[in-house]
């Protein structure tokens, strides 16, 4: 886990560890996928409705928002940072888009621009987080925590007691309209995932984020503007959360402050289960998406096989930990540092 740092010869110099690490990365790559398949099989045995086309659609549709969020989050996690601002950013985005598009509260109607504005607003939050974390050297854990509160606060103010319901027919279209049996939002999500993959593989942001997560000091030493790329990563993530907020607003047909409730831990769990490590530098968009599917399938399946709502959470928790434990078990070493 610990990357080679300056001031220390790299942890392993022999060949054997390298081999074991290849095995490790292999596990990290395909373990979650295996877990996903296993889950699907189990559920389709336990519940007749699970393996139906209708339910598959439902799973994909309900995974859409979480997937989008997780794509953004992945880049932050790749830095080795963490992001708890999701709920706040989504709330503000949700309210602002609802207020800027044709709605029941005011006469403003920017149409598509409203969405752009909301996403931009999300980006601003990300930017602020980035600047605070890098400029003030505050752990992202705290900056994002504060940002979340600020976001929810702003949303509350915008909300002002009356839900702004979106009246724009186009949005209605997007909410209910379907392509190939999937809601349009699902395709938006797929689009975002693809963009995420491209960014991760083909852009400085993607590669440098990875590098920074892998060995920040070395990146600095190589003259990389670490602060800048960190900030950009947060900004990108913020924008994506903003989009997620818009998606929720479209789904619900009105802007609500609770748009992002519960999504934050869900997204983190998804990313981690998928093999994107909190320590940074590992995993990626694809990993996280597998994670998202695992989480969504879990929720969906548990409801379908009629597990009591009380224990659903608990069962999820156990399964998640168990999954990680199983995939990580072979990597255990006496001197391995796990925080």
């Amino acid at each position: 886990m610990a990357p080679a740092r300056l001031g220390q010869a790299p942890p392993e110099t022999g060949r054997a560890p390298a081999r074991s690490r290849r095995r490790a990365s292999l596990l990290a790559d395909y373990g979650p996928l295996g877990a996903l398949v296993l889950l699907c099989l189990t559920f389709s045995v336990l519940s007749p409705q699970f393996a139906t086309w209708g339910n598959l659609r439902n799973v994909l549709d309900s995974a859409a928002v979480l997937a989008v969020i997780t794509v953004g989050l992945t880049f932050v996690l790749m830095l080795g940072a963490i992001d708890l601002s999701i709920e706040g950013v989504m709330a503000t985005a949700a309210l602002s888009v609802a207020l800027l598009i044709a709605n029941t509260r005011n006469d403003i109607d920017l149409g598509f621009l409203a969405i752009v504005a909301a996403v931009a607003l999300g980006a601003c939050f990300g930017l602020a987080t980035g600047l605070l974390s890098t400029g003030l050297k505050i752990p992202s854990f705290m900056t994002t925590l504060g940002m979340s509160a600020i976001g929810i606060g702003i949303a509350t103010v915008l909300f002002a007691g009356v839900q702004p319901s979106v009246t724009s027919p186009a949005m209605g279209e997007w909410a209910s309209g379907q392509w190939f049996g999937l809601t349009r939002l699902t395709f938006v999500a797929i689009g975002v995932v693809i963009v995420g993959l491209l960014v991760q593989h083909y852009t400085r942001l993607g590669r440098y984020a990875r590098a920074i997560g892998g060995a920040e000091d070395l990146a600095l030493l190589s003259g990389i503007r670490v602060r800048r790329y960190k900030t950009i990563a947060f900004t990108f993530a913020g924008a994506v959360y903003g989009l997620a907020g818009v998606m929720v607003t479209i789904q619900l047909g009105s802007g609500i402050v609770q748009a992002g409730v519960g999504q934050n831990f869900a997204a983190i769990t998804a990313a981690v289960v998928g093999g994107t490590l909190l320590s940074g530098g590992r995993g990626g968009v694809l990993h996280s998406i597998v994670g998202v599917l695992i989480v969504t399938v879990l929720v969906n399946g548990l409801v379908l096989i009629g597990v009591s709502p009380y224990v659903q959470g608990a069962v999820q928790g156990v399964i998640v930990v168990a999954a990680v434990a199983i995939t990580a078990w072979p990597l255990r070493q006496r001197l391995r540092v796990v925080k």
């Binding site: 001031g7 990365s25 530098g281």
Partner: protein
């Protein structure tokens, strides 16, 4: 291989650099000519690394000038230095573990491999491959840096430095900082061959503590002391002893390895190792370690000697049997090993040897905290006395016992780490993994002295050292390991020490 007389590629003239009241560089001048390998030696604090930092733009000189190919340059940061054609191969390496070789070679200087912020992987690979070809390496450009061996990584670093050629259309200056400190002899030889190749297309500055190597590869050697160059010599005309004298400015009292203090081995066996295996790295190792004996272990990278020692200390899982003074022991964890009076000084001091943020005293008492506790209660005064006592005995230079260990110099840090084990009277076996790595000559001979003192008091030592010379000089016997097995045992009594060559043969 004398260099042609022409304008030097790199000329450092009368640079000064002070940190507060400390003078790191005091009017240092030196030059590197075309296709020349210049050796740079000096004790820690002589100013070597300040100089290197300056050459790659991490420090700015207070006064004086640095001229590259005839023109004055000022560099802020490695990126600029690279752009100017000066690159450094770091002692502890600077490759990013989770990026591919190709990315690492062009990291931060992708040039036309990134168009409009988008990577063009094809170009990236080709250009990286081109660099590797220069040094005739067959490393896969798509491999992850972390999956390479140390030596391979070092080659990648060299390729990375050579990559500056294209950018500058000029032959680069390559700074090799302690390149061999963690290489074994054979790997070092590969590296030297590489340097010979480099010589044809670049100028090289070679910094090392291993004087024999410096003499072997350099055309000229500068000896630094107290921030200025005290001597410039040509290998043919000086020997190691002379260099050592120049570095320290005085003769070392006694011999470097204090061999005269090597006592004859006692008969009774301290540690009996039988059929010891560490999964995947070493197979059924047998040996006996006598009381007061220093048993050196020689072996190349991957010979499994580190893993063996870590296994004995319980830091990695083992099979087989251990007997301490005739009683079988199990070392299921470092803690259990310590409780059966084994101590371990790891090679990576900062990463494994010490807790830099904690005070010298706290570091010293860490393993045997019980000794300074009354029941569960920590007795700070007692701890303080103990620490002060050992700081005194080992002549550890520190502001106080309460100073954070990180604020001490490497040599003194290492002494503190040794003290940690010496405090316990019951210590029976001390495992030393490259105890002198990264230390300067003075500090080294002090560490050697301490090791001798330990053995004199009956402690047995398992030793792995940076150079074979050191290993042989220190040890009573040398255990030779190859591919995870003990292939030979060479006796090394005082006066009749085997030559490194004889041991080397058995290693490969």
């Amino acid at each position: 291989m004398s260099a042609p007389a022409e304008a030097p590629v790199l000329a450092v003239h009368d640079v000064r650099k002070t940190f507060g009241e400390t003078t790191a560089l005091d009017g240092l001048s030196f030059e590197v000519r075309r296709h020349e390998v210049v050796g740079l030696i000096g004790e820690n604090g002589a100013g070597k690394s300040t100089l290197l930092k300056m050459l790659i733009g991490l420090e700015q000189p207070d006064s004086g000038s640095i001229a590259l190919r005839g023109e004055q340059i000022k560099m802020r940061g490695i990126a600029q230095a690279g752009a100017a054609g000066i690159g450094m191969v770091f002692q502890e390496q600077s490759l990013i573990p989770n990026l591919t070789v190709a990315e690492n070679i062009l990291f931060g200087a992708e040039g036309d491999a990134i168009v409009g912020g988008m990577y063009r992987w094809k170009t990236l690979r080709q250009r990286a491959q081109a660099q590797l070809d220069k040094i005739g390496s067959t490393i896969d450009v798509d491999a992850m840096a972390e999956d390479l061996t140390f030596a391979e990584r070092q080659l990648v670093e060299i390729a990375k430095v050579l990559a500056t050629e294209e950018r500058t259309n000029a032959e680069p200056v390559v700074l090799l900082d302690e390149p061999t400190s963690v290489l074994d002899r054979d790997e070092a030889e590969v590296l030297f061959a590489q340097i010979e190749r480099l010589r044809t297309r670049a100028s090289v500055v070679f910094v090392s503590h291993r004087l024999d190597e410096v003499l072997q590869v350099s055309d000229r050697v500068y000896v630094l002391r107290n921030g200025s160059s005290v001597a410039e010599c040509v290998p043919g005309e000086v020997d190691e002893a002379e260099l050592r004298r120049l570095m320290i400015g005085r003769d070392l009292e006694g011999s470097h390895y204090s061999e005269e203090r090597q006592l004859p081995v006692q008969d009774e066996v301290r540690l009996r190792v039988r059929d010891l295996s560490v999964k995947g790295v070493c197979e059924s190792v047998d040996f006996d370690l006598h009381v007061g004996e220093i048993l050196g272990i020689a072996g190349v990278q991957g010979s499994g000697r580190e893993e063996l020692c870590r296994g004995i200390f319980g830091a990695s899982a083992t099979r087989g049997s251990l007997e301490m003074d005739g009683r079988p022991i199990r070392t299921s964890s470092p803690r259990s090993a310590i409780s059966s009076d084994i101590g371990f000084v790891p090679a990576e001091r900062r990463r494994e040897g010490m807790v830099g943020t904690m005070s010298v005293a706290e570091n010293i008492t860490l393993p045997h905290i019980a000794d300074v506790c009354a029941g569960p209660v920590l007795q700070r005064s007692k701890e303080r006395r103990l620490a002060d006592d050992w700081i005194e005995r080992l002549r550890i230079r520190t502001a106080s016992a309460a100073a954070p260990l990180a604020s001490l110099s490497g040599g003194n840090q290492q002494k503190a780490v040794l003290a940690r084990w010496m405090v316990s009277d019951s210590l029976k076996l001390l495992i030393l993994d490259h105890p002198t790595r990264g230390l300067d000559v003075g500090a080294k001979s002090e560490v050697y002295r301490l090791i001798r003192e330990l053995t004199a008091s009956g402690v047995s030592v398992l030793l792995m050292a940076d150079s074979l010379e050191e290993l042989i000089a220190m040890s009573h016997r040398v255990l030779v390991m190859k591919d995870g097995r003990v292939t030979d045992v060479v006796d090394a009594p005082v006066g009749a020490k085997p030559t490194p060559v004889t041991v080397l043969e058995r290693m490969i």
